[in-house]
Symmetry: C2
Subunit: 338 residues, 2 copies
């Protein structure tokens, strides 16, 4: 149901029945290692290329969600997913393995919430009994494509972010008037916001205005204010983007307590891991939400959260052709239905 200008309400409260999260060696040494279902010792994961390893992350996350949900693949109607690699190749190859009717999506690091919003809408209106949705990224595959081959050992400025090697998937299903389940209640779809920033080593700063635009729209469309949520968590703004966002929100008259406003890109790694400003990648918000944050919700730490996945829709081509970075953010509210 459309509410306001760019948001949906999900009155039937689609249930996040199960999730799966897979990660790499850097994530295994991180803050949230215990929240991963599968962790790999190396970036190759037994494959012959980083992109094929990337595919494995998505396959494992999806497979784990099915297993934990105790659902046969045959009962699932659709797979809605994407990633950062050209032609979302790893996701399409995972879709070939998974063999479910497939919607490929691209929203860079906002992909996780683009997928969850669509899946929630479809489930809410009986367009499927079960939907798998997710996103993934692979550090070495992303570096190779967007920056330099890692073997080159290029130095990075402190504003740079570290692409997460991880995949996260959620299995959604219809709500049968249950209690004690985690549900989605609304979503806000973002516009492309581009403030003219051009530095691919400062994505957080570029994405901040998009996060602000979507957060402002969410509260306007839903007639809620920040007090509705126990946590508002962005995808991968990291240190600089988070500060900029808090500042811009305040300028727009929206004050959110610092503690209540967190970022997946600042949660996943330890302080002493050399990730500069924090984490990023399509797998960042997917892995942190579908692992850590939902675990926290099950433990009663949070009852209502708003997840705002931010995406920088740049490509090597936009950079080469002197374009600034178009950014976007999509938000989904997730609640423990009691």
């Amino acid at each position: 149901m459309l509410i306001g200008k760019q948001s949906w309400a999900f009155p039937n409260k689609p249930v996040i029945a199960a999730t799966g999260v897979s990660g790499g060696p850097f994530e295994a040494n991180g803050n949230l290692a215990e929240d991963f279902d599968i962790l790999h010792d190396d970036l190759w994961m037994g494959e012959e290329s980083y992109e094929k390893a990337h595919r494995v992350l998505m396959e494992e996350a999806a497979q784990t969600a099915l297993e934990k949900g105790n659902i046969q693949k045959e009962d699932v109607q659709f797979f809605i997913a994407g990633d950062l690699i050209n032609q979302i190749t790893p996701t399409s190859l995972a879709a070939r393995t998974i063999q479910l009717p497939y919607f490929g999506i691209f929203g860079a690091c906002s992909t996780s919430m683009e997928g969850l919003a669509l899946a929630s809408f479809i489930i809410n209106y009986q367009g499927a009994k079960y939907i798998l949705t997710g996103a993934s990224s692979h550090n070495a595959a992303a570096e190779k494509q967007f920056r330099y081959p890692t073997e080159y050992g290029g130095q990075k400025p402190p504003t740079a972010q570290w692409t997460v090697t991880g995949g996260g998937a959620a299995l959604l299903r219809a709500n049968e008037n249950e209690k004690g389940v985690i549900v989605t209640t609304s979503a806000t779809i973002g516009k492309v916001i581009d403030m003219g920033l051009t530095d691919p080593f400062n994505m957080g700063g570029a994405m901040a205005p998009a996060a602000v635009d979507t957060i402002m729209a969410h509260f306007k469309d839903t007639n809620r204010d920040p007090s509705y949520y126990d946590l508002i968590v962005t995808g991968d703004l990291a240190r600089i983007g988070r500060e900029t966002t808090l500042e811009l929100l305040q300028k727009n008259g929206l004050n959110i307590e610092r503690d209540k406003f967190q970022d997946c890109g600042l949660m996943i790694y330890k302080e002493d891991q050399p990730v500069q400003a924090g984490a990023s990648g399509a797998g960042c918000s997917a892995a942190v939400l579908y692992g850590h944050l939902l675990n926290q919700m099950k433990q009663g730490v949070y009852k209502k959260i708003l997840v705002v996945a931010t995406g920088a829709l740049l490509s090597p081509l936009t950079f080469q052709q002197g374009e600034s970075i178009p950014c976007i953010a999509h938000a989904v509210s997730i609640e423990m239905d009691e």
Copy 2:
């Protein structure tokens, strides 16, 4: 509403209120020039790169659909679109211009029907009042990325296809119990089908099994048979893919009269244009459907058509890494509601 395993029915019959189609010089010399709203004299379209010209095609198609629908942009909720270029850059840049909440999608040349299926579902359930959806491709931008720079003048085998320079957009809205409007009535979402073909110069052949899988699923899920439609039209199978598909359908026990089974990739150009097996590209089915085919429907030539957009989800990377070509097809049925 889910019907069967992988299809939706749209009982509220979303209306295709208006469309816009833009094309390049090769299309201006083609069979369907009169069905284009805008045709460009050269591939640059006043821009400094082919990718920026590609963006222009999508912007023009979207803008034309709004104008012909006599709808202000402010009344439209969402833009659902994609293309073939890395990170769907031209579409995201068009989304920046259009400034509507944006779902980026990637289905290669199946993008047009992926978007129309999603838009129809959302409109059917009041998730929006108006949605713009579309797809585009640019010959020189696609050649540069997937094959060789055109300046190289590489020869192509007769199985190769010619990427359409074109964009097509449709404006969807809710049906207010009207008659004499063009509506969508169902959609079938395809799985990734990969029969192990590896030749990027024979996409039609690679995509044929995906088209067959989706067509078979469509008739099974909807309990219809080919006699329900006046025309079944694939996206860009071209000469070889069309023959293979007809043959495979027959083997599966589905006989479709040759005349009733057409392909957008064989309609858009003249016999004497040097396009080898036919046309392809994300803009092929979008431009042919939203231009020519809907015009034919308005003229009463067809009342019910099934559009099966086929996509080869390959990338330069899959080719380099020795992967075969994963393919997909999505189908939408479009009817004159009398």
